[in-house]
């Protein structure tokens, strides 16, 4: 099943930021979003993940198939690394956290409290969470923030393995991960004042 986004207009705080965004993400493929800060990449990703409703357009094939990772990793400081991961595994109905720990080189840290990790280690834990969800579509917002070169390579390997296993990934990133990925620049989709919005029945103008 493909993730199909058609003619999407997304809004931040009631103001449209991107419009007419369409793409298809097939299994095994990755799509990288690019665009300057504030262009609306995060808003687009949140809409695709179902956290906010689109203003116009549809997202199909996303229901219960998306694993979302954003700037905040949802890590509980007082729980250990393994506890953090197994919580998410339980929530998503999975049980095995070992492959995820291994893939992100967290094996030695498994019994450390997450609060004592460095920023990059926390980020790795946040990304390892994707693997225990068992979800096919990864939606990633700036996944490589605070990762060092070696960790970026680990992450790229994890994404490659995920794609090879038939998964797909949609990510906003500025770093070239060395992946076979399509690139979608969102800059041309910046919302302009369209007549459609002005004629809107509820418009205040």
């Amino acid at each position: 099943m493909d993730l199909i986004v058609s003619d999407l207009t997304v809004a931040r705080g009631g103001v449209p930021v991107l419009e007419g965004v369409s793409f298809v993400l097939t299994s095994g493929a990755a799509l990288v979003l690019r665009g300057p800060n504030g262009a609306g990449k995060t808003t687009l990703l949140r809409t695709v993940a179902g956290l906010q409703p689109p203003m116009v357009g549809t997202v199909s094939g996303a229901e219960d198939r998306i694993a979302y990772a954003a700037h905040a990793d949802g890590i509980k400081q007082v729980l250990t690394v393994a506890e953090n991961l197994s919580l998410w595994a339980d929530v998503f109905g999975q049980s095995d956290v070992e492959p995820a720990l291994a893939a992100f080189n967290l094996g030695d840290l498994r019994d450390r409290a997450a609060g004592s990790l460095s920023a990059g280690q926390k980020r790795r834990l946040g990304l390892a969470r994707l693997m225990v969800t068992g979800r096919p579509v990864w939606v990633l917002d700036e996944p490589t923030v605070s990762l060092d070169v070696a960790s970026v390579a680990l992450f790229a390997d994890a994404v490659r393995a995920h794609l090879a296993a038939g998964g797909s990934a949609l990510m906003a990133t500025h770093i070239d991960l060395g992946l076979e990925a399509e690139v979608l620049d969102v800059t041309p989709h910046k919302a302009v004042l369209s007549t459609a919005i002005e004629d809107f029945d509820e418009a205040f103008l």
Binding site: R46, A49, G50, L51, Q52, P53, D64, I66, A67, Y68, A69, A70, H71, A72, D73, G74, I75, K76, V78, L79, E83, S86, L87, W88, D90, V91, F92, G93, R129
Partner: protein, 218 residues
Amino acid sequence: MIALLVRDLRLAVRAGGGFGLGLAFFLIVVVLVPFGVGPESGLLSKIAPGVLWIGALLACLLSLDRIFALDWEDGSLDLLATAPVPLEGIVSMKALAHWLTTGLPLVLAAPALGVLLSLPQQGYVWLVASLAMGTPALSVIGTFGAALTVGIKRGGLLLSLLVLPLYVPTLIFGAEVARRGAEGFEVMTPLLMLGGITFGTLALLPFASAAVLRINLR
């Protein structure tokens, strides 16, 4: 969903504060009352049921903003919203965790504090019964308030302002059961009303809380 409950309980125990704080607050309120109204045991035993109920209610209120605030800050709430668990279930589990860490200890501690306020002998059973029946409603209503104010920085005061009026019926019936029990009157009517409020809120309010949370996550 059980995993979430276990996590919340574990967090409450490990973070230290969450578990004991409400209880300590309850104790302090009850200790302060005799300083305020005088040590005369006749007066204290008359107001004991009401004071204990108000103390428990305030102790409950104290910890409400922790229900969602931490999960909101660290992004867990976003991740939970995309999880295969319905948000209604998540808020119910949150309310249950809040009751287990705050309400239940209050229920268990209330008789000991009743001694301090010279609660009459026959009042203990009904005090515990009324708190056991009423505190779940306090947690569920509080979860609704916490969901409403989750996106607001320093929303603690607003949370109290929103939740306290909603607590009025629970407090009235709960304290009425405890008072009538202490004075040896028939308690069945207010107890049934209290039960009605608790089960009604348990059944319906999680839907409102989940709806409100979805709006706040947008």
